[in-house]
Symmetry: C2
Subunit: 330 residues, 2 copies
DNA sequence: CTGTTAGCGCGTTCAA
DNA sequence: TTGAACGCGCTAACAG
């Protein structure tokens, strides 16, 4: 049996409702009594019973996060940040790796205050969101395609910024590494814009196919394309993981960055800065995404209205991995 | 407000306790009444309030899994399997990526029926397990070093099997890839035994240092060692991820497996079989680990006693990635 | 300031 | 076969 407020009350020699107030830091309790109760609660290892609290107050102070596929540096980093922000506001984050529908059902049973869904585009079957619940739901990654509030990044704008940046520096032959063999909507948008903008600016461009979004794939793709007779002077990478592989390949081929090869990487995460060569990136700062998600979740839980689709605008952050090509033909 | 058994009772014209019985399929209710209640519940979209149920029954039918670090193919696969097995037995799996102590506290508040901890050896600070709770706890990966039941693999035995297997095939020059720069207890055991057993059998051996346990590190390490004048005829790999990189390197160097290079990989996961060259592996079948974890968790929840330390014995599974060296000097 | 009381939704006696 | 009553742990309203 777990320790309850009654147990504490008995030990402290007060009534259990006084304990309840003390624990919730109510001003209706004498400071001395409060301290005593708190100390005893601590000693006894008290943890409030969420079930009982939820029964009365209708709040569980918990958020459910649905994360059907367990992967990639950026996703992991984002979840970690959101988790921290919510913890600071005394919310508990619970994760589920089940299919979306059954994850929602589970969180419904556990009466979480809100559900945040990482929508994985690689999933074969599109999830059925018709599951009945009045728990607020927020989705990441599918702006406007589902009947729920969503947060998403304008990925195509990110590639546009990257292409323009390279064009302005004088690059006229660029490559994009990041088209996985499995269909992935998140990547498709970026690539489409890469082609469009390159053509508009009259830049020679190519898209290098890869197996998956892992570091090693980036390495192999870069190795392949950089060994061609006419190699591109700049590469745009679809993710941080890929970029690490690309830089490794460049190093092995003795191509110095940015003198002989410029790299613009999608994803703006803290690691981007601490690499040997700090990366020029396009994308939304991951901390900003986490802020926005947390903020929106809080709004949702307070029953305040939020926009159905929130789009975050990517930024270009120029660091040390891009420069004018050696023989700039401007 | 959600629909409760009272609402159903009113509509069905029976008392709410009859509804409760009907929903739990009690034999104390007339079949006709039962059907009617069930139908109405369905119509009204009834979902039992777990909070209330748990208050009474003391069971939440949920397991908390603590997973402080989000990584590696094998870990992810294992969690997925455990999740599935528990789901089949109608348990819900909740994950937390918080530090061990606060994850336990959260699960305590949510009154899960058991907690399973993936102990991450890379964590700097050893967790404080003195947190008070009487929820059963099971830990993976630290046999005997904590005051809780643990499940672990005899990793050193795995390497021993690998070395012996290669020795019997006639290999006299082998390498081990899998010593990360950051201290990792899980790897240390394997490497120690690699050295011991090799020396005992009089085999020339070397351990190749790597940065981390990712595929790409395996690739780089293999590339390095296989280009030496006197290259080893066989490699033992510390993990499935590393092995993928090693095979890639071999392929680029035009070394055919197993004719020119034998590989024994640690980790026995389904992917081991479906590679171009099915892998000879040492380790415990991941499905068996998942079975054992699930089973132990169920015992723990039924308050049956379980051994304080459960060790799982690795097996050698010979597939197609090992053979006698070309110029076997037996 | 502190204690008493009621009730959240449900499962489980015990009576009817 | 059904229903009434109690209590799980907690919060909130009210009374002392």
């Amino acid at each position: 049996m777990s320790v309850t407020i009654k147990d504490i009350a008995e030990r402290a020699g007060v009534s259990f409702s006084t304990v309840s107030k003390a624990l919730r830091n109510s001003p209706l309790v004498q400071e001395k009594t409060k301290q005593k109760v708190l100390r005893i609660a601590e000693e006894m290892g008290y943890q409030p019973n969420i079930a009982a609290r939820r029964l009365v107050s209708k709040k569980s102070q918990a958020i459910g996060v649905v994360w059907p596929s367990v992967e990639r540096a950026t996703t992991g980093a984002l979840i970690t940040l959101i988790n921290e922000e919510l913890e600071q506001r005394s919310y508990t984050t619970l994760l589920s790796i089940n299919r979306i529908e059954s994850a929602i059902a589970a969180f419904h049973r556990f009466q979480v205050d809100a559900i945040f869904i990482f929508y994985n585009h690689e999933e074969q079957v599109p999830p059925d969101f018709r599951y009945q619940t009045n728990i607020p739901i927020l989705i990441y990654g599918v702006a406007g395609r589902v009947p729920y509030p969503t947060i998403d990044v304008r990925r195509d704008r990110a590639t546009m910024l990257a292409v323009r940046h390279l064009h302005e520096l004088g690059h006229r032959e660029i490559a994009y590494i990041g088209e996985p063999s499995r269909f992935d909507l998140l990547q498709v948008e970026k690539i489409r814009m890469f082609r469009e903008e390159s053509e508009r600016l009259g830049i020679r461009h190519s898209v290098v196919p890869i197996d998956n979004m892992e570091t090693h794939s980036g390495y192999l793709a870069a190795k392949r394309i950089l060994q061609q007779k006419q190699r591109p002077t700049a590469i745009i990478s679809g993710s941080y993981d890929l970029t690490r592989g690309i830089m490794q390949a460049a190093q092995e081929l003795k191509l110095s960055i940015p003198e002989q090869l410029s790299i613009v990487s999608y994803d703006n995460i803290p690691q981007s800065v601490t690499l040997e060569v700090p990366l020029t990136t396009v994308g939304v700062d991951i901390a900003k995404i986490a802020d926005k998600v947390t903020e929106t979740l809080l709004h949702l839980m307070n029953e305040e209205s939020v926009p159905l689709s929130i789009f975050m605008e990517p930024e270009l952050v120029v660091r040390s991995s891009t420069a004018a090509p050696l023989a700039a033909s401007r």
